[in-house]
Symmetry: C2
Subunit: 260 residues, 2 copies
Amino acid sequence: MLNVLKLGGSVVTFKDRVMTQNEEAIRRLSGEIAAAGPRRLVVVHGGGSYGHPLAKEHGIADGFKSAGQLVGFSKTRQAMVVLNCLVVDALLDEGVPAVSVSPSSFISTQDGRLQEFDLDIVKRYLDSGTVPVMYGDAILDSVLGFTILSGDQLAVRLATDLGAAKLIFGVDVDGVYTANPKMAKGAKLIERLSLSQVKGIIRIGEAVSTDVTGGMLGKINEAQAAVEAGVSVQLVNALEPGRTLRALRGEPVVGTILTR
Amino acid sequence: MLNVLKLGGSVVTFKDRVMTQNEEAIRRLSGEIAAAGPRRLVVVHGGGSYGHPLAKEHGIADGFKSAGQLVGFSKTRQAMVVLNCLVVDALLDEGVPAVSVSPSSFISTQDGRLQEFDLDIVKRYLDSGTVPVMYGDAILDSVLGFTILSGDQLAVRLATDLGAAKLIFGVDVDGVYTANPKMAKGAKLIERLSLSQVKGIIRIGEAVSTDVTGGMLGKINEAQAAVEAGVSVQLVNALEPGRTLRALRGEPVVGTILTR
């Protein structure tokens, strides 16, 4: 049984401070991953305050416009390597045989979307008993020159193509809400959310042009493909101690489960 | 015209101190690479005091024996990621759009030797105007489970398969000597060394069971394949300021050139 755990950029970093990792969260979550035991697991993390400010400054997501961006592209990649090092080091400290697998070293996109790519090496790391740790990355794109591959898109694709039993999104809120809990007092956590409900929410989201779900809109939109492929998709608050561990173990936990 | 520059582990690190980079050499060589101008270039560096002690401690080169090695395998990989970060950061500081390309993220070996592997992404980084920076790495092996891929083997293969004009080995001696210059006073630098002479030296090397060439035996043995493929192979002392720059520019420089 394979799990894919996506840790959000707002979990492993402080999004409002430049290049600042959330060391306490990274250390605690590494402990939770170790405590969950030696199951087959792929970890994917986001960029947060490492990748995003550099990517924005140099317009990486919009693709190649001029040679002046190349150093910015390199710096964005490099910031992600550094953040990934911090995550892998924390996992190694907990005795988890984590191996950094660099997306931009073997994956490219076409107009921002993943096409077929060779997952053989990821499978072999899993078979060898190690835990591949991947991340959102600045990568080559056959249409745009380069772009940003989000950790969400990557995690969904890995879960789908590797036939994962479960895809867990560790985020900085409790799950998907009926309204943005940071704005609306009456917002309620949706414990089970079906794809047809998701489609309704996305329509609402488009209509009001703000993310009514508490920042989860893009994520659940991306996650639909995994749900449709039979992967159990769950959103939990990874900043709340113990919740990620319970999700990894398959125990009941506060959060949102996406269903067909 | 493509150059491949291999920087030895004894150039980018101090081999006799654990996990100690030669910051001065890394910074100066980054400047020389920047000064050589925007030619097509792949940089490969060795492990030195980053990769080797951990690989030795955990028996990584000999392959998988027990699950107890897995964390050691991961730590060896991680040490190389950290060293690679230092090299890439120094290049970025000099304005070189260097991109880290992690060998163990897409390459594996068979009984310690590289088989066919997909160089498409390396070619695309070159086409995009960036400088791929690769390294000797702890990687998966289809026979041994895992092993060490030397930076030398990787550099030779890249030069051969990418059709490089030149492969430059930046080492910590002036080139190949008639005897080990650290032992024998009368040792003379060989400025041009043919493959038939190499074969003679290797026989001597085997006979006396020590490396009479000043530590260059394994390197020139590995490099034969590149020479046979028509790549111009040159060894220069990268610890001597300016020599790597002159080699990159194709200017006359103290060193050894391997010829057919």
